[in-house]
């Protein structure tokens, strides 16, 4: 059985946890309320979290609301994922300076600090495992991802607050934190108490907790605590009404590449890239060569790109090979749900629902897949 304990004062426990992680040199990152959404930024203490706030999500809609308690983790995923830190939006791959008789090259400019992520949902950990297959375990590992990933510390949270856009249950990626975490928290909030059940998932997780335990009040976890956790995730699971069957989606899409639904979705799709840039598993990037006005300095910059930009599918002399929205949307969905399996052995979707909520046109991939599956049967 996993080693577990209960921190009997939740906010104080999180404060000490963040302090212990900071002492170990981590930049502690977690959800913060900014500009009407839970974004991922550096945390100073429990008070940095969206205390007493929750969110409401639907297709093309995201709103935050006050709760009538002091819950620390009572919201679903926001628009950003740890991808922002492990594989940042922009990085300079190398730079070159003109010197006498040639160039002097320099490698990646700044090495980011090790990150500790607090409040990570199961779908998020599943997404990181997917990105590992792409950016770490494949034939061409991304060195800065590998380094950031190896250093990263994860404090997971068993999800008690799925949004209406969530469907991790059907994808088999949540709502319980089962792998990839150093610590897993369950927030136990009742009328009389506000506690955190903490389960230890790694040796370094145990070391951090030993330090936390020496400064805050705690008690051993009971069967009752573990039962409460199971109930929380079980309730979350049944609250998720959206569904996607990963293997059904895989087979249906790839068998229906000329389905009229692709034309239909193309009338609604904005090709704006939002779905791909909020997706925690998307990894596409572009490289730009930048030179200084005097021609003495050059840089190669890598930045996030999307299969929805024309530049991404532009071939030299041929223009974009996916020149219309229909082909770009089909590329995104069939790659995410079908051909990702061929490439990486898993689905590229973890059911976090971000692409549904943050699509300005409200396109819902579960609905698109269902429509193609349904119309196929007729």
């Amino acid at each position: 059985m996993t080693a577990s304990l209960v921190l009997t004062a939740a906010a104080q426990g999180v404060d000490e946890l963040i302090a212990a992680l900071a002492r170990r040199g981590y930049c502690v990152v977690g959800p913060r309320l900014r500009d009407g959404a839970m974004v991922l930024e550096e945390l100073q203490g429990a008070a940095s979290l969206p205390v007493g706030w929750t969110d409401e999500q639907e297709a093309a809609t995201y709103r935050v609301h006050r709760r009538d308690d002091r819950a620390l983790f009572a919201y679903a995923v926001g628009p950003q994922s740890p991808r922002r830190y492990l594989s940042p939006p922009r990085k300079t791959l190398w730079s070159a300076l003109r010197i006498e008789g040639g160039f002097q090259f320099e490698g990646e400019a700044d090495e980011p600090p090790p990150y500790a992520f607090v409040g990570v949902k199961a779908c998020e950990l599943a997404a990181i495992a997917v990105q590992d297959k792409v950016l770490r375990d494949g034939p061409y590992p991304d060195p800065s991802y590998v380094r950031a990933r190896q250093q990263a510390f994860f404090v997971g949270v068993n999800c008690g607050s799925p949004a209406a856009t969530c469907f991790c249950t059907s994808m088999g990626t949540g709502p319980a934190v089962e792998a990839g975490h150093d610590l897993a928290i369950t927030e136990l909030l009742t009328a009389g108490a506000h506690e955190l059940l903490v389960e230890i998932g790694s040796d370094r997780g145990g070391e951090v907790m030993a330090e936390v335990q020496s400064t805050v009040s705690w008690r051993p976890a009971t069967d009752g605590d573990r039962e409460a956790k199971h109930q929380i995730v079980a309730e979350s699971a049944v609250r998720m009404t959206r569904r996607l069957e990963p293997t059904v989606a895989r087979d249906v899409l790839i068998a229906n590449l000329e389905h009229p639904r692709w034309d239909d979705v193309a009338t609604r799709c904005l090709s704006c890239t939002n779905c791909t840039l909020v997706c925690p598993t998307c990894f596409c990037s572009a490289v730009e060569d930048v030179s200084s006005l005097d021609g003495d300095r050059a840089e190669r910059v890598q930045r996030w790109d999307s299969c929805f930009t024309l530049g991404h599918s532009t071939l030299h002399g041929a223009g974009s090979v996916r020149g219309d929205t229909r082909s770009r949307y089909r590329q995104w969905l069939t790659h995410k749900l079908s051909t990702w399996w061929d490439q990486f052995g898993v689905s590229g979707c973890v059911g976090c629902g971000r692409c549904i909520a943050w699509c300005p046109a409200g396109i819902d991939l579960t609905e698109e897949v269902a429509a193609i599956a349904r119309e196929k049967e007729q």
């Binding site: 900014r34 500009d35 009407g36 959404a37 974004v39 093309a60 809609t61 995201y62 709103r63 628009p79 950003q80 922002r84 939006p89 922009r90 009338t267 609604r268 799709c269 904005l270 090709s271 704006c272 890239t273 939002n274 840039l277 909020v278 730009e288 060569d289 930048v290 030179s291 200084s292 006005l293 005097d294 021609g295 930045r303 996030w304 999307s306 929805f308 930009t309 024309l310 530049g311 020149g323 219309d324 929205t325 909520a357 943050w358 300005p360 046109a361 409200g362």
Partner: protein
């Protein structure tokens, strides 16, 4: 300093416009000396009265074509220029003055001028590309000075400028902005607007005004439908599309479609 003769000769030309875009070049305060070191500024009346005759290696053109005289002048400039790039919404889309394209020009003349007969003007405001071959169009109202420097640097380095045609949404996501449309219900043209400003307005929690014109392959009708669901009035939606880039075809066509829809029973 590179010798005068080996430096490319650059000319900056003004047509119907507010001067704001060529001012962006003077705005490059920190980089201006470096620019002046690499090029020979042969014609730039906003900066200096001293001019050098053509031909020119690069002509930078601001403004739209609104008179017969200018329609001829741009042809002469093109003939004198090895490369010609246009900068700003006026030069690339006709500018806000292209609002005249929806009306009878004589109505405007009668309202604005005491003696309309003295005025010689065309009925339309059109982009430079409607008159001559343009080698590169730099968008924006006004243009972004960093993008202008990038275009000049690329020209000097004989490489392609890194000017992306994707939507403003990409810039918001790169910056870590929260989407004002989804999280705030704020009307925003970002999903159909060309990047380049660095998502300036959404960074300050405002919706995008579309200053850089239509993005590559935009879908304005889908955005209209979404803004309609958010409760944006049809007239306001038409006004959103009819600003500095009203003459850009995707914005023009969508506003026209909305007008037609509004007037049909």
């Amino acid at each position: 300093m590179v010798s005068t003769t080996s430096r490319p000769k650059i000319a900056v030309w003004k047509f119907a416009s507010c001067d704001g875009c060529q001012l962006s070049l003077l705005d490059c305060e920190d980089e201006l000396l470096a620019v002046a070191d690499r090029v020979q500024i042969a014609y730039f009346l906003e900066a200096t009265r001293a001019t050098i005759d053509g031909p020119y290696d690069l002509s930078i053109v601001e403004g739209s074509i609104t008179t017969e005289h200018d329609a001829e002048r741009i042809k002469t400039i093109r003939a004198l220029s090895r490369h010609l790039i246009t900068i700003g919404a006026c030069a690339t889309a006709g500018g806000v003055q292209a609002l005249r394209n929806y009306s009878d020009i004589d109505d405007y003349l009668g309202i604005v001028y005491a003696t309309p007969a003295y005025i010689s003007t065309l009925a339309t405001s059109t982009p430079i590309s409607a008159h001559v071959q343009v080698d590169f169009e730099l968008r924006g109202c006004p243009i972004d000075k960093h993008q202008l420097l990038e275009v000049l640097t690329a020209f000097l380095g004989q490489r392609r400028p890194n000017i992306a045609g994707h939507s403003v949404c990409v810039e918001c996501k790169l910056r870590g902005n929260v989407c004002v449309l989804v999280a705030g219900g704020t009307p925003c043209l970002g999903p159909i607007t060309h990047a380049g400003c660095g998502a300036l307005c959404p960074t300050y929690a405002r919706g995008c005004y579309g200053c850089f014109g239509p993005a590559e392959d935009p879908n304005p009708a889908s955005l209209s439908a979404q803004l309609d669901r958010l409760g944006v009035d049809r007239v306001d939606l038409i006004r959103m599309l009819r600003t500095f880039n009203t003459g850009a075809e995707p914005f023009r066509a969508e506003s026209q479609r909305l007008m037609t829809e509004a007037s049909s029973p």
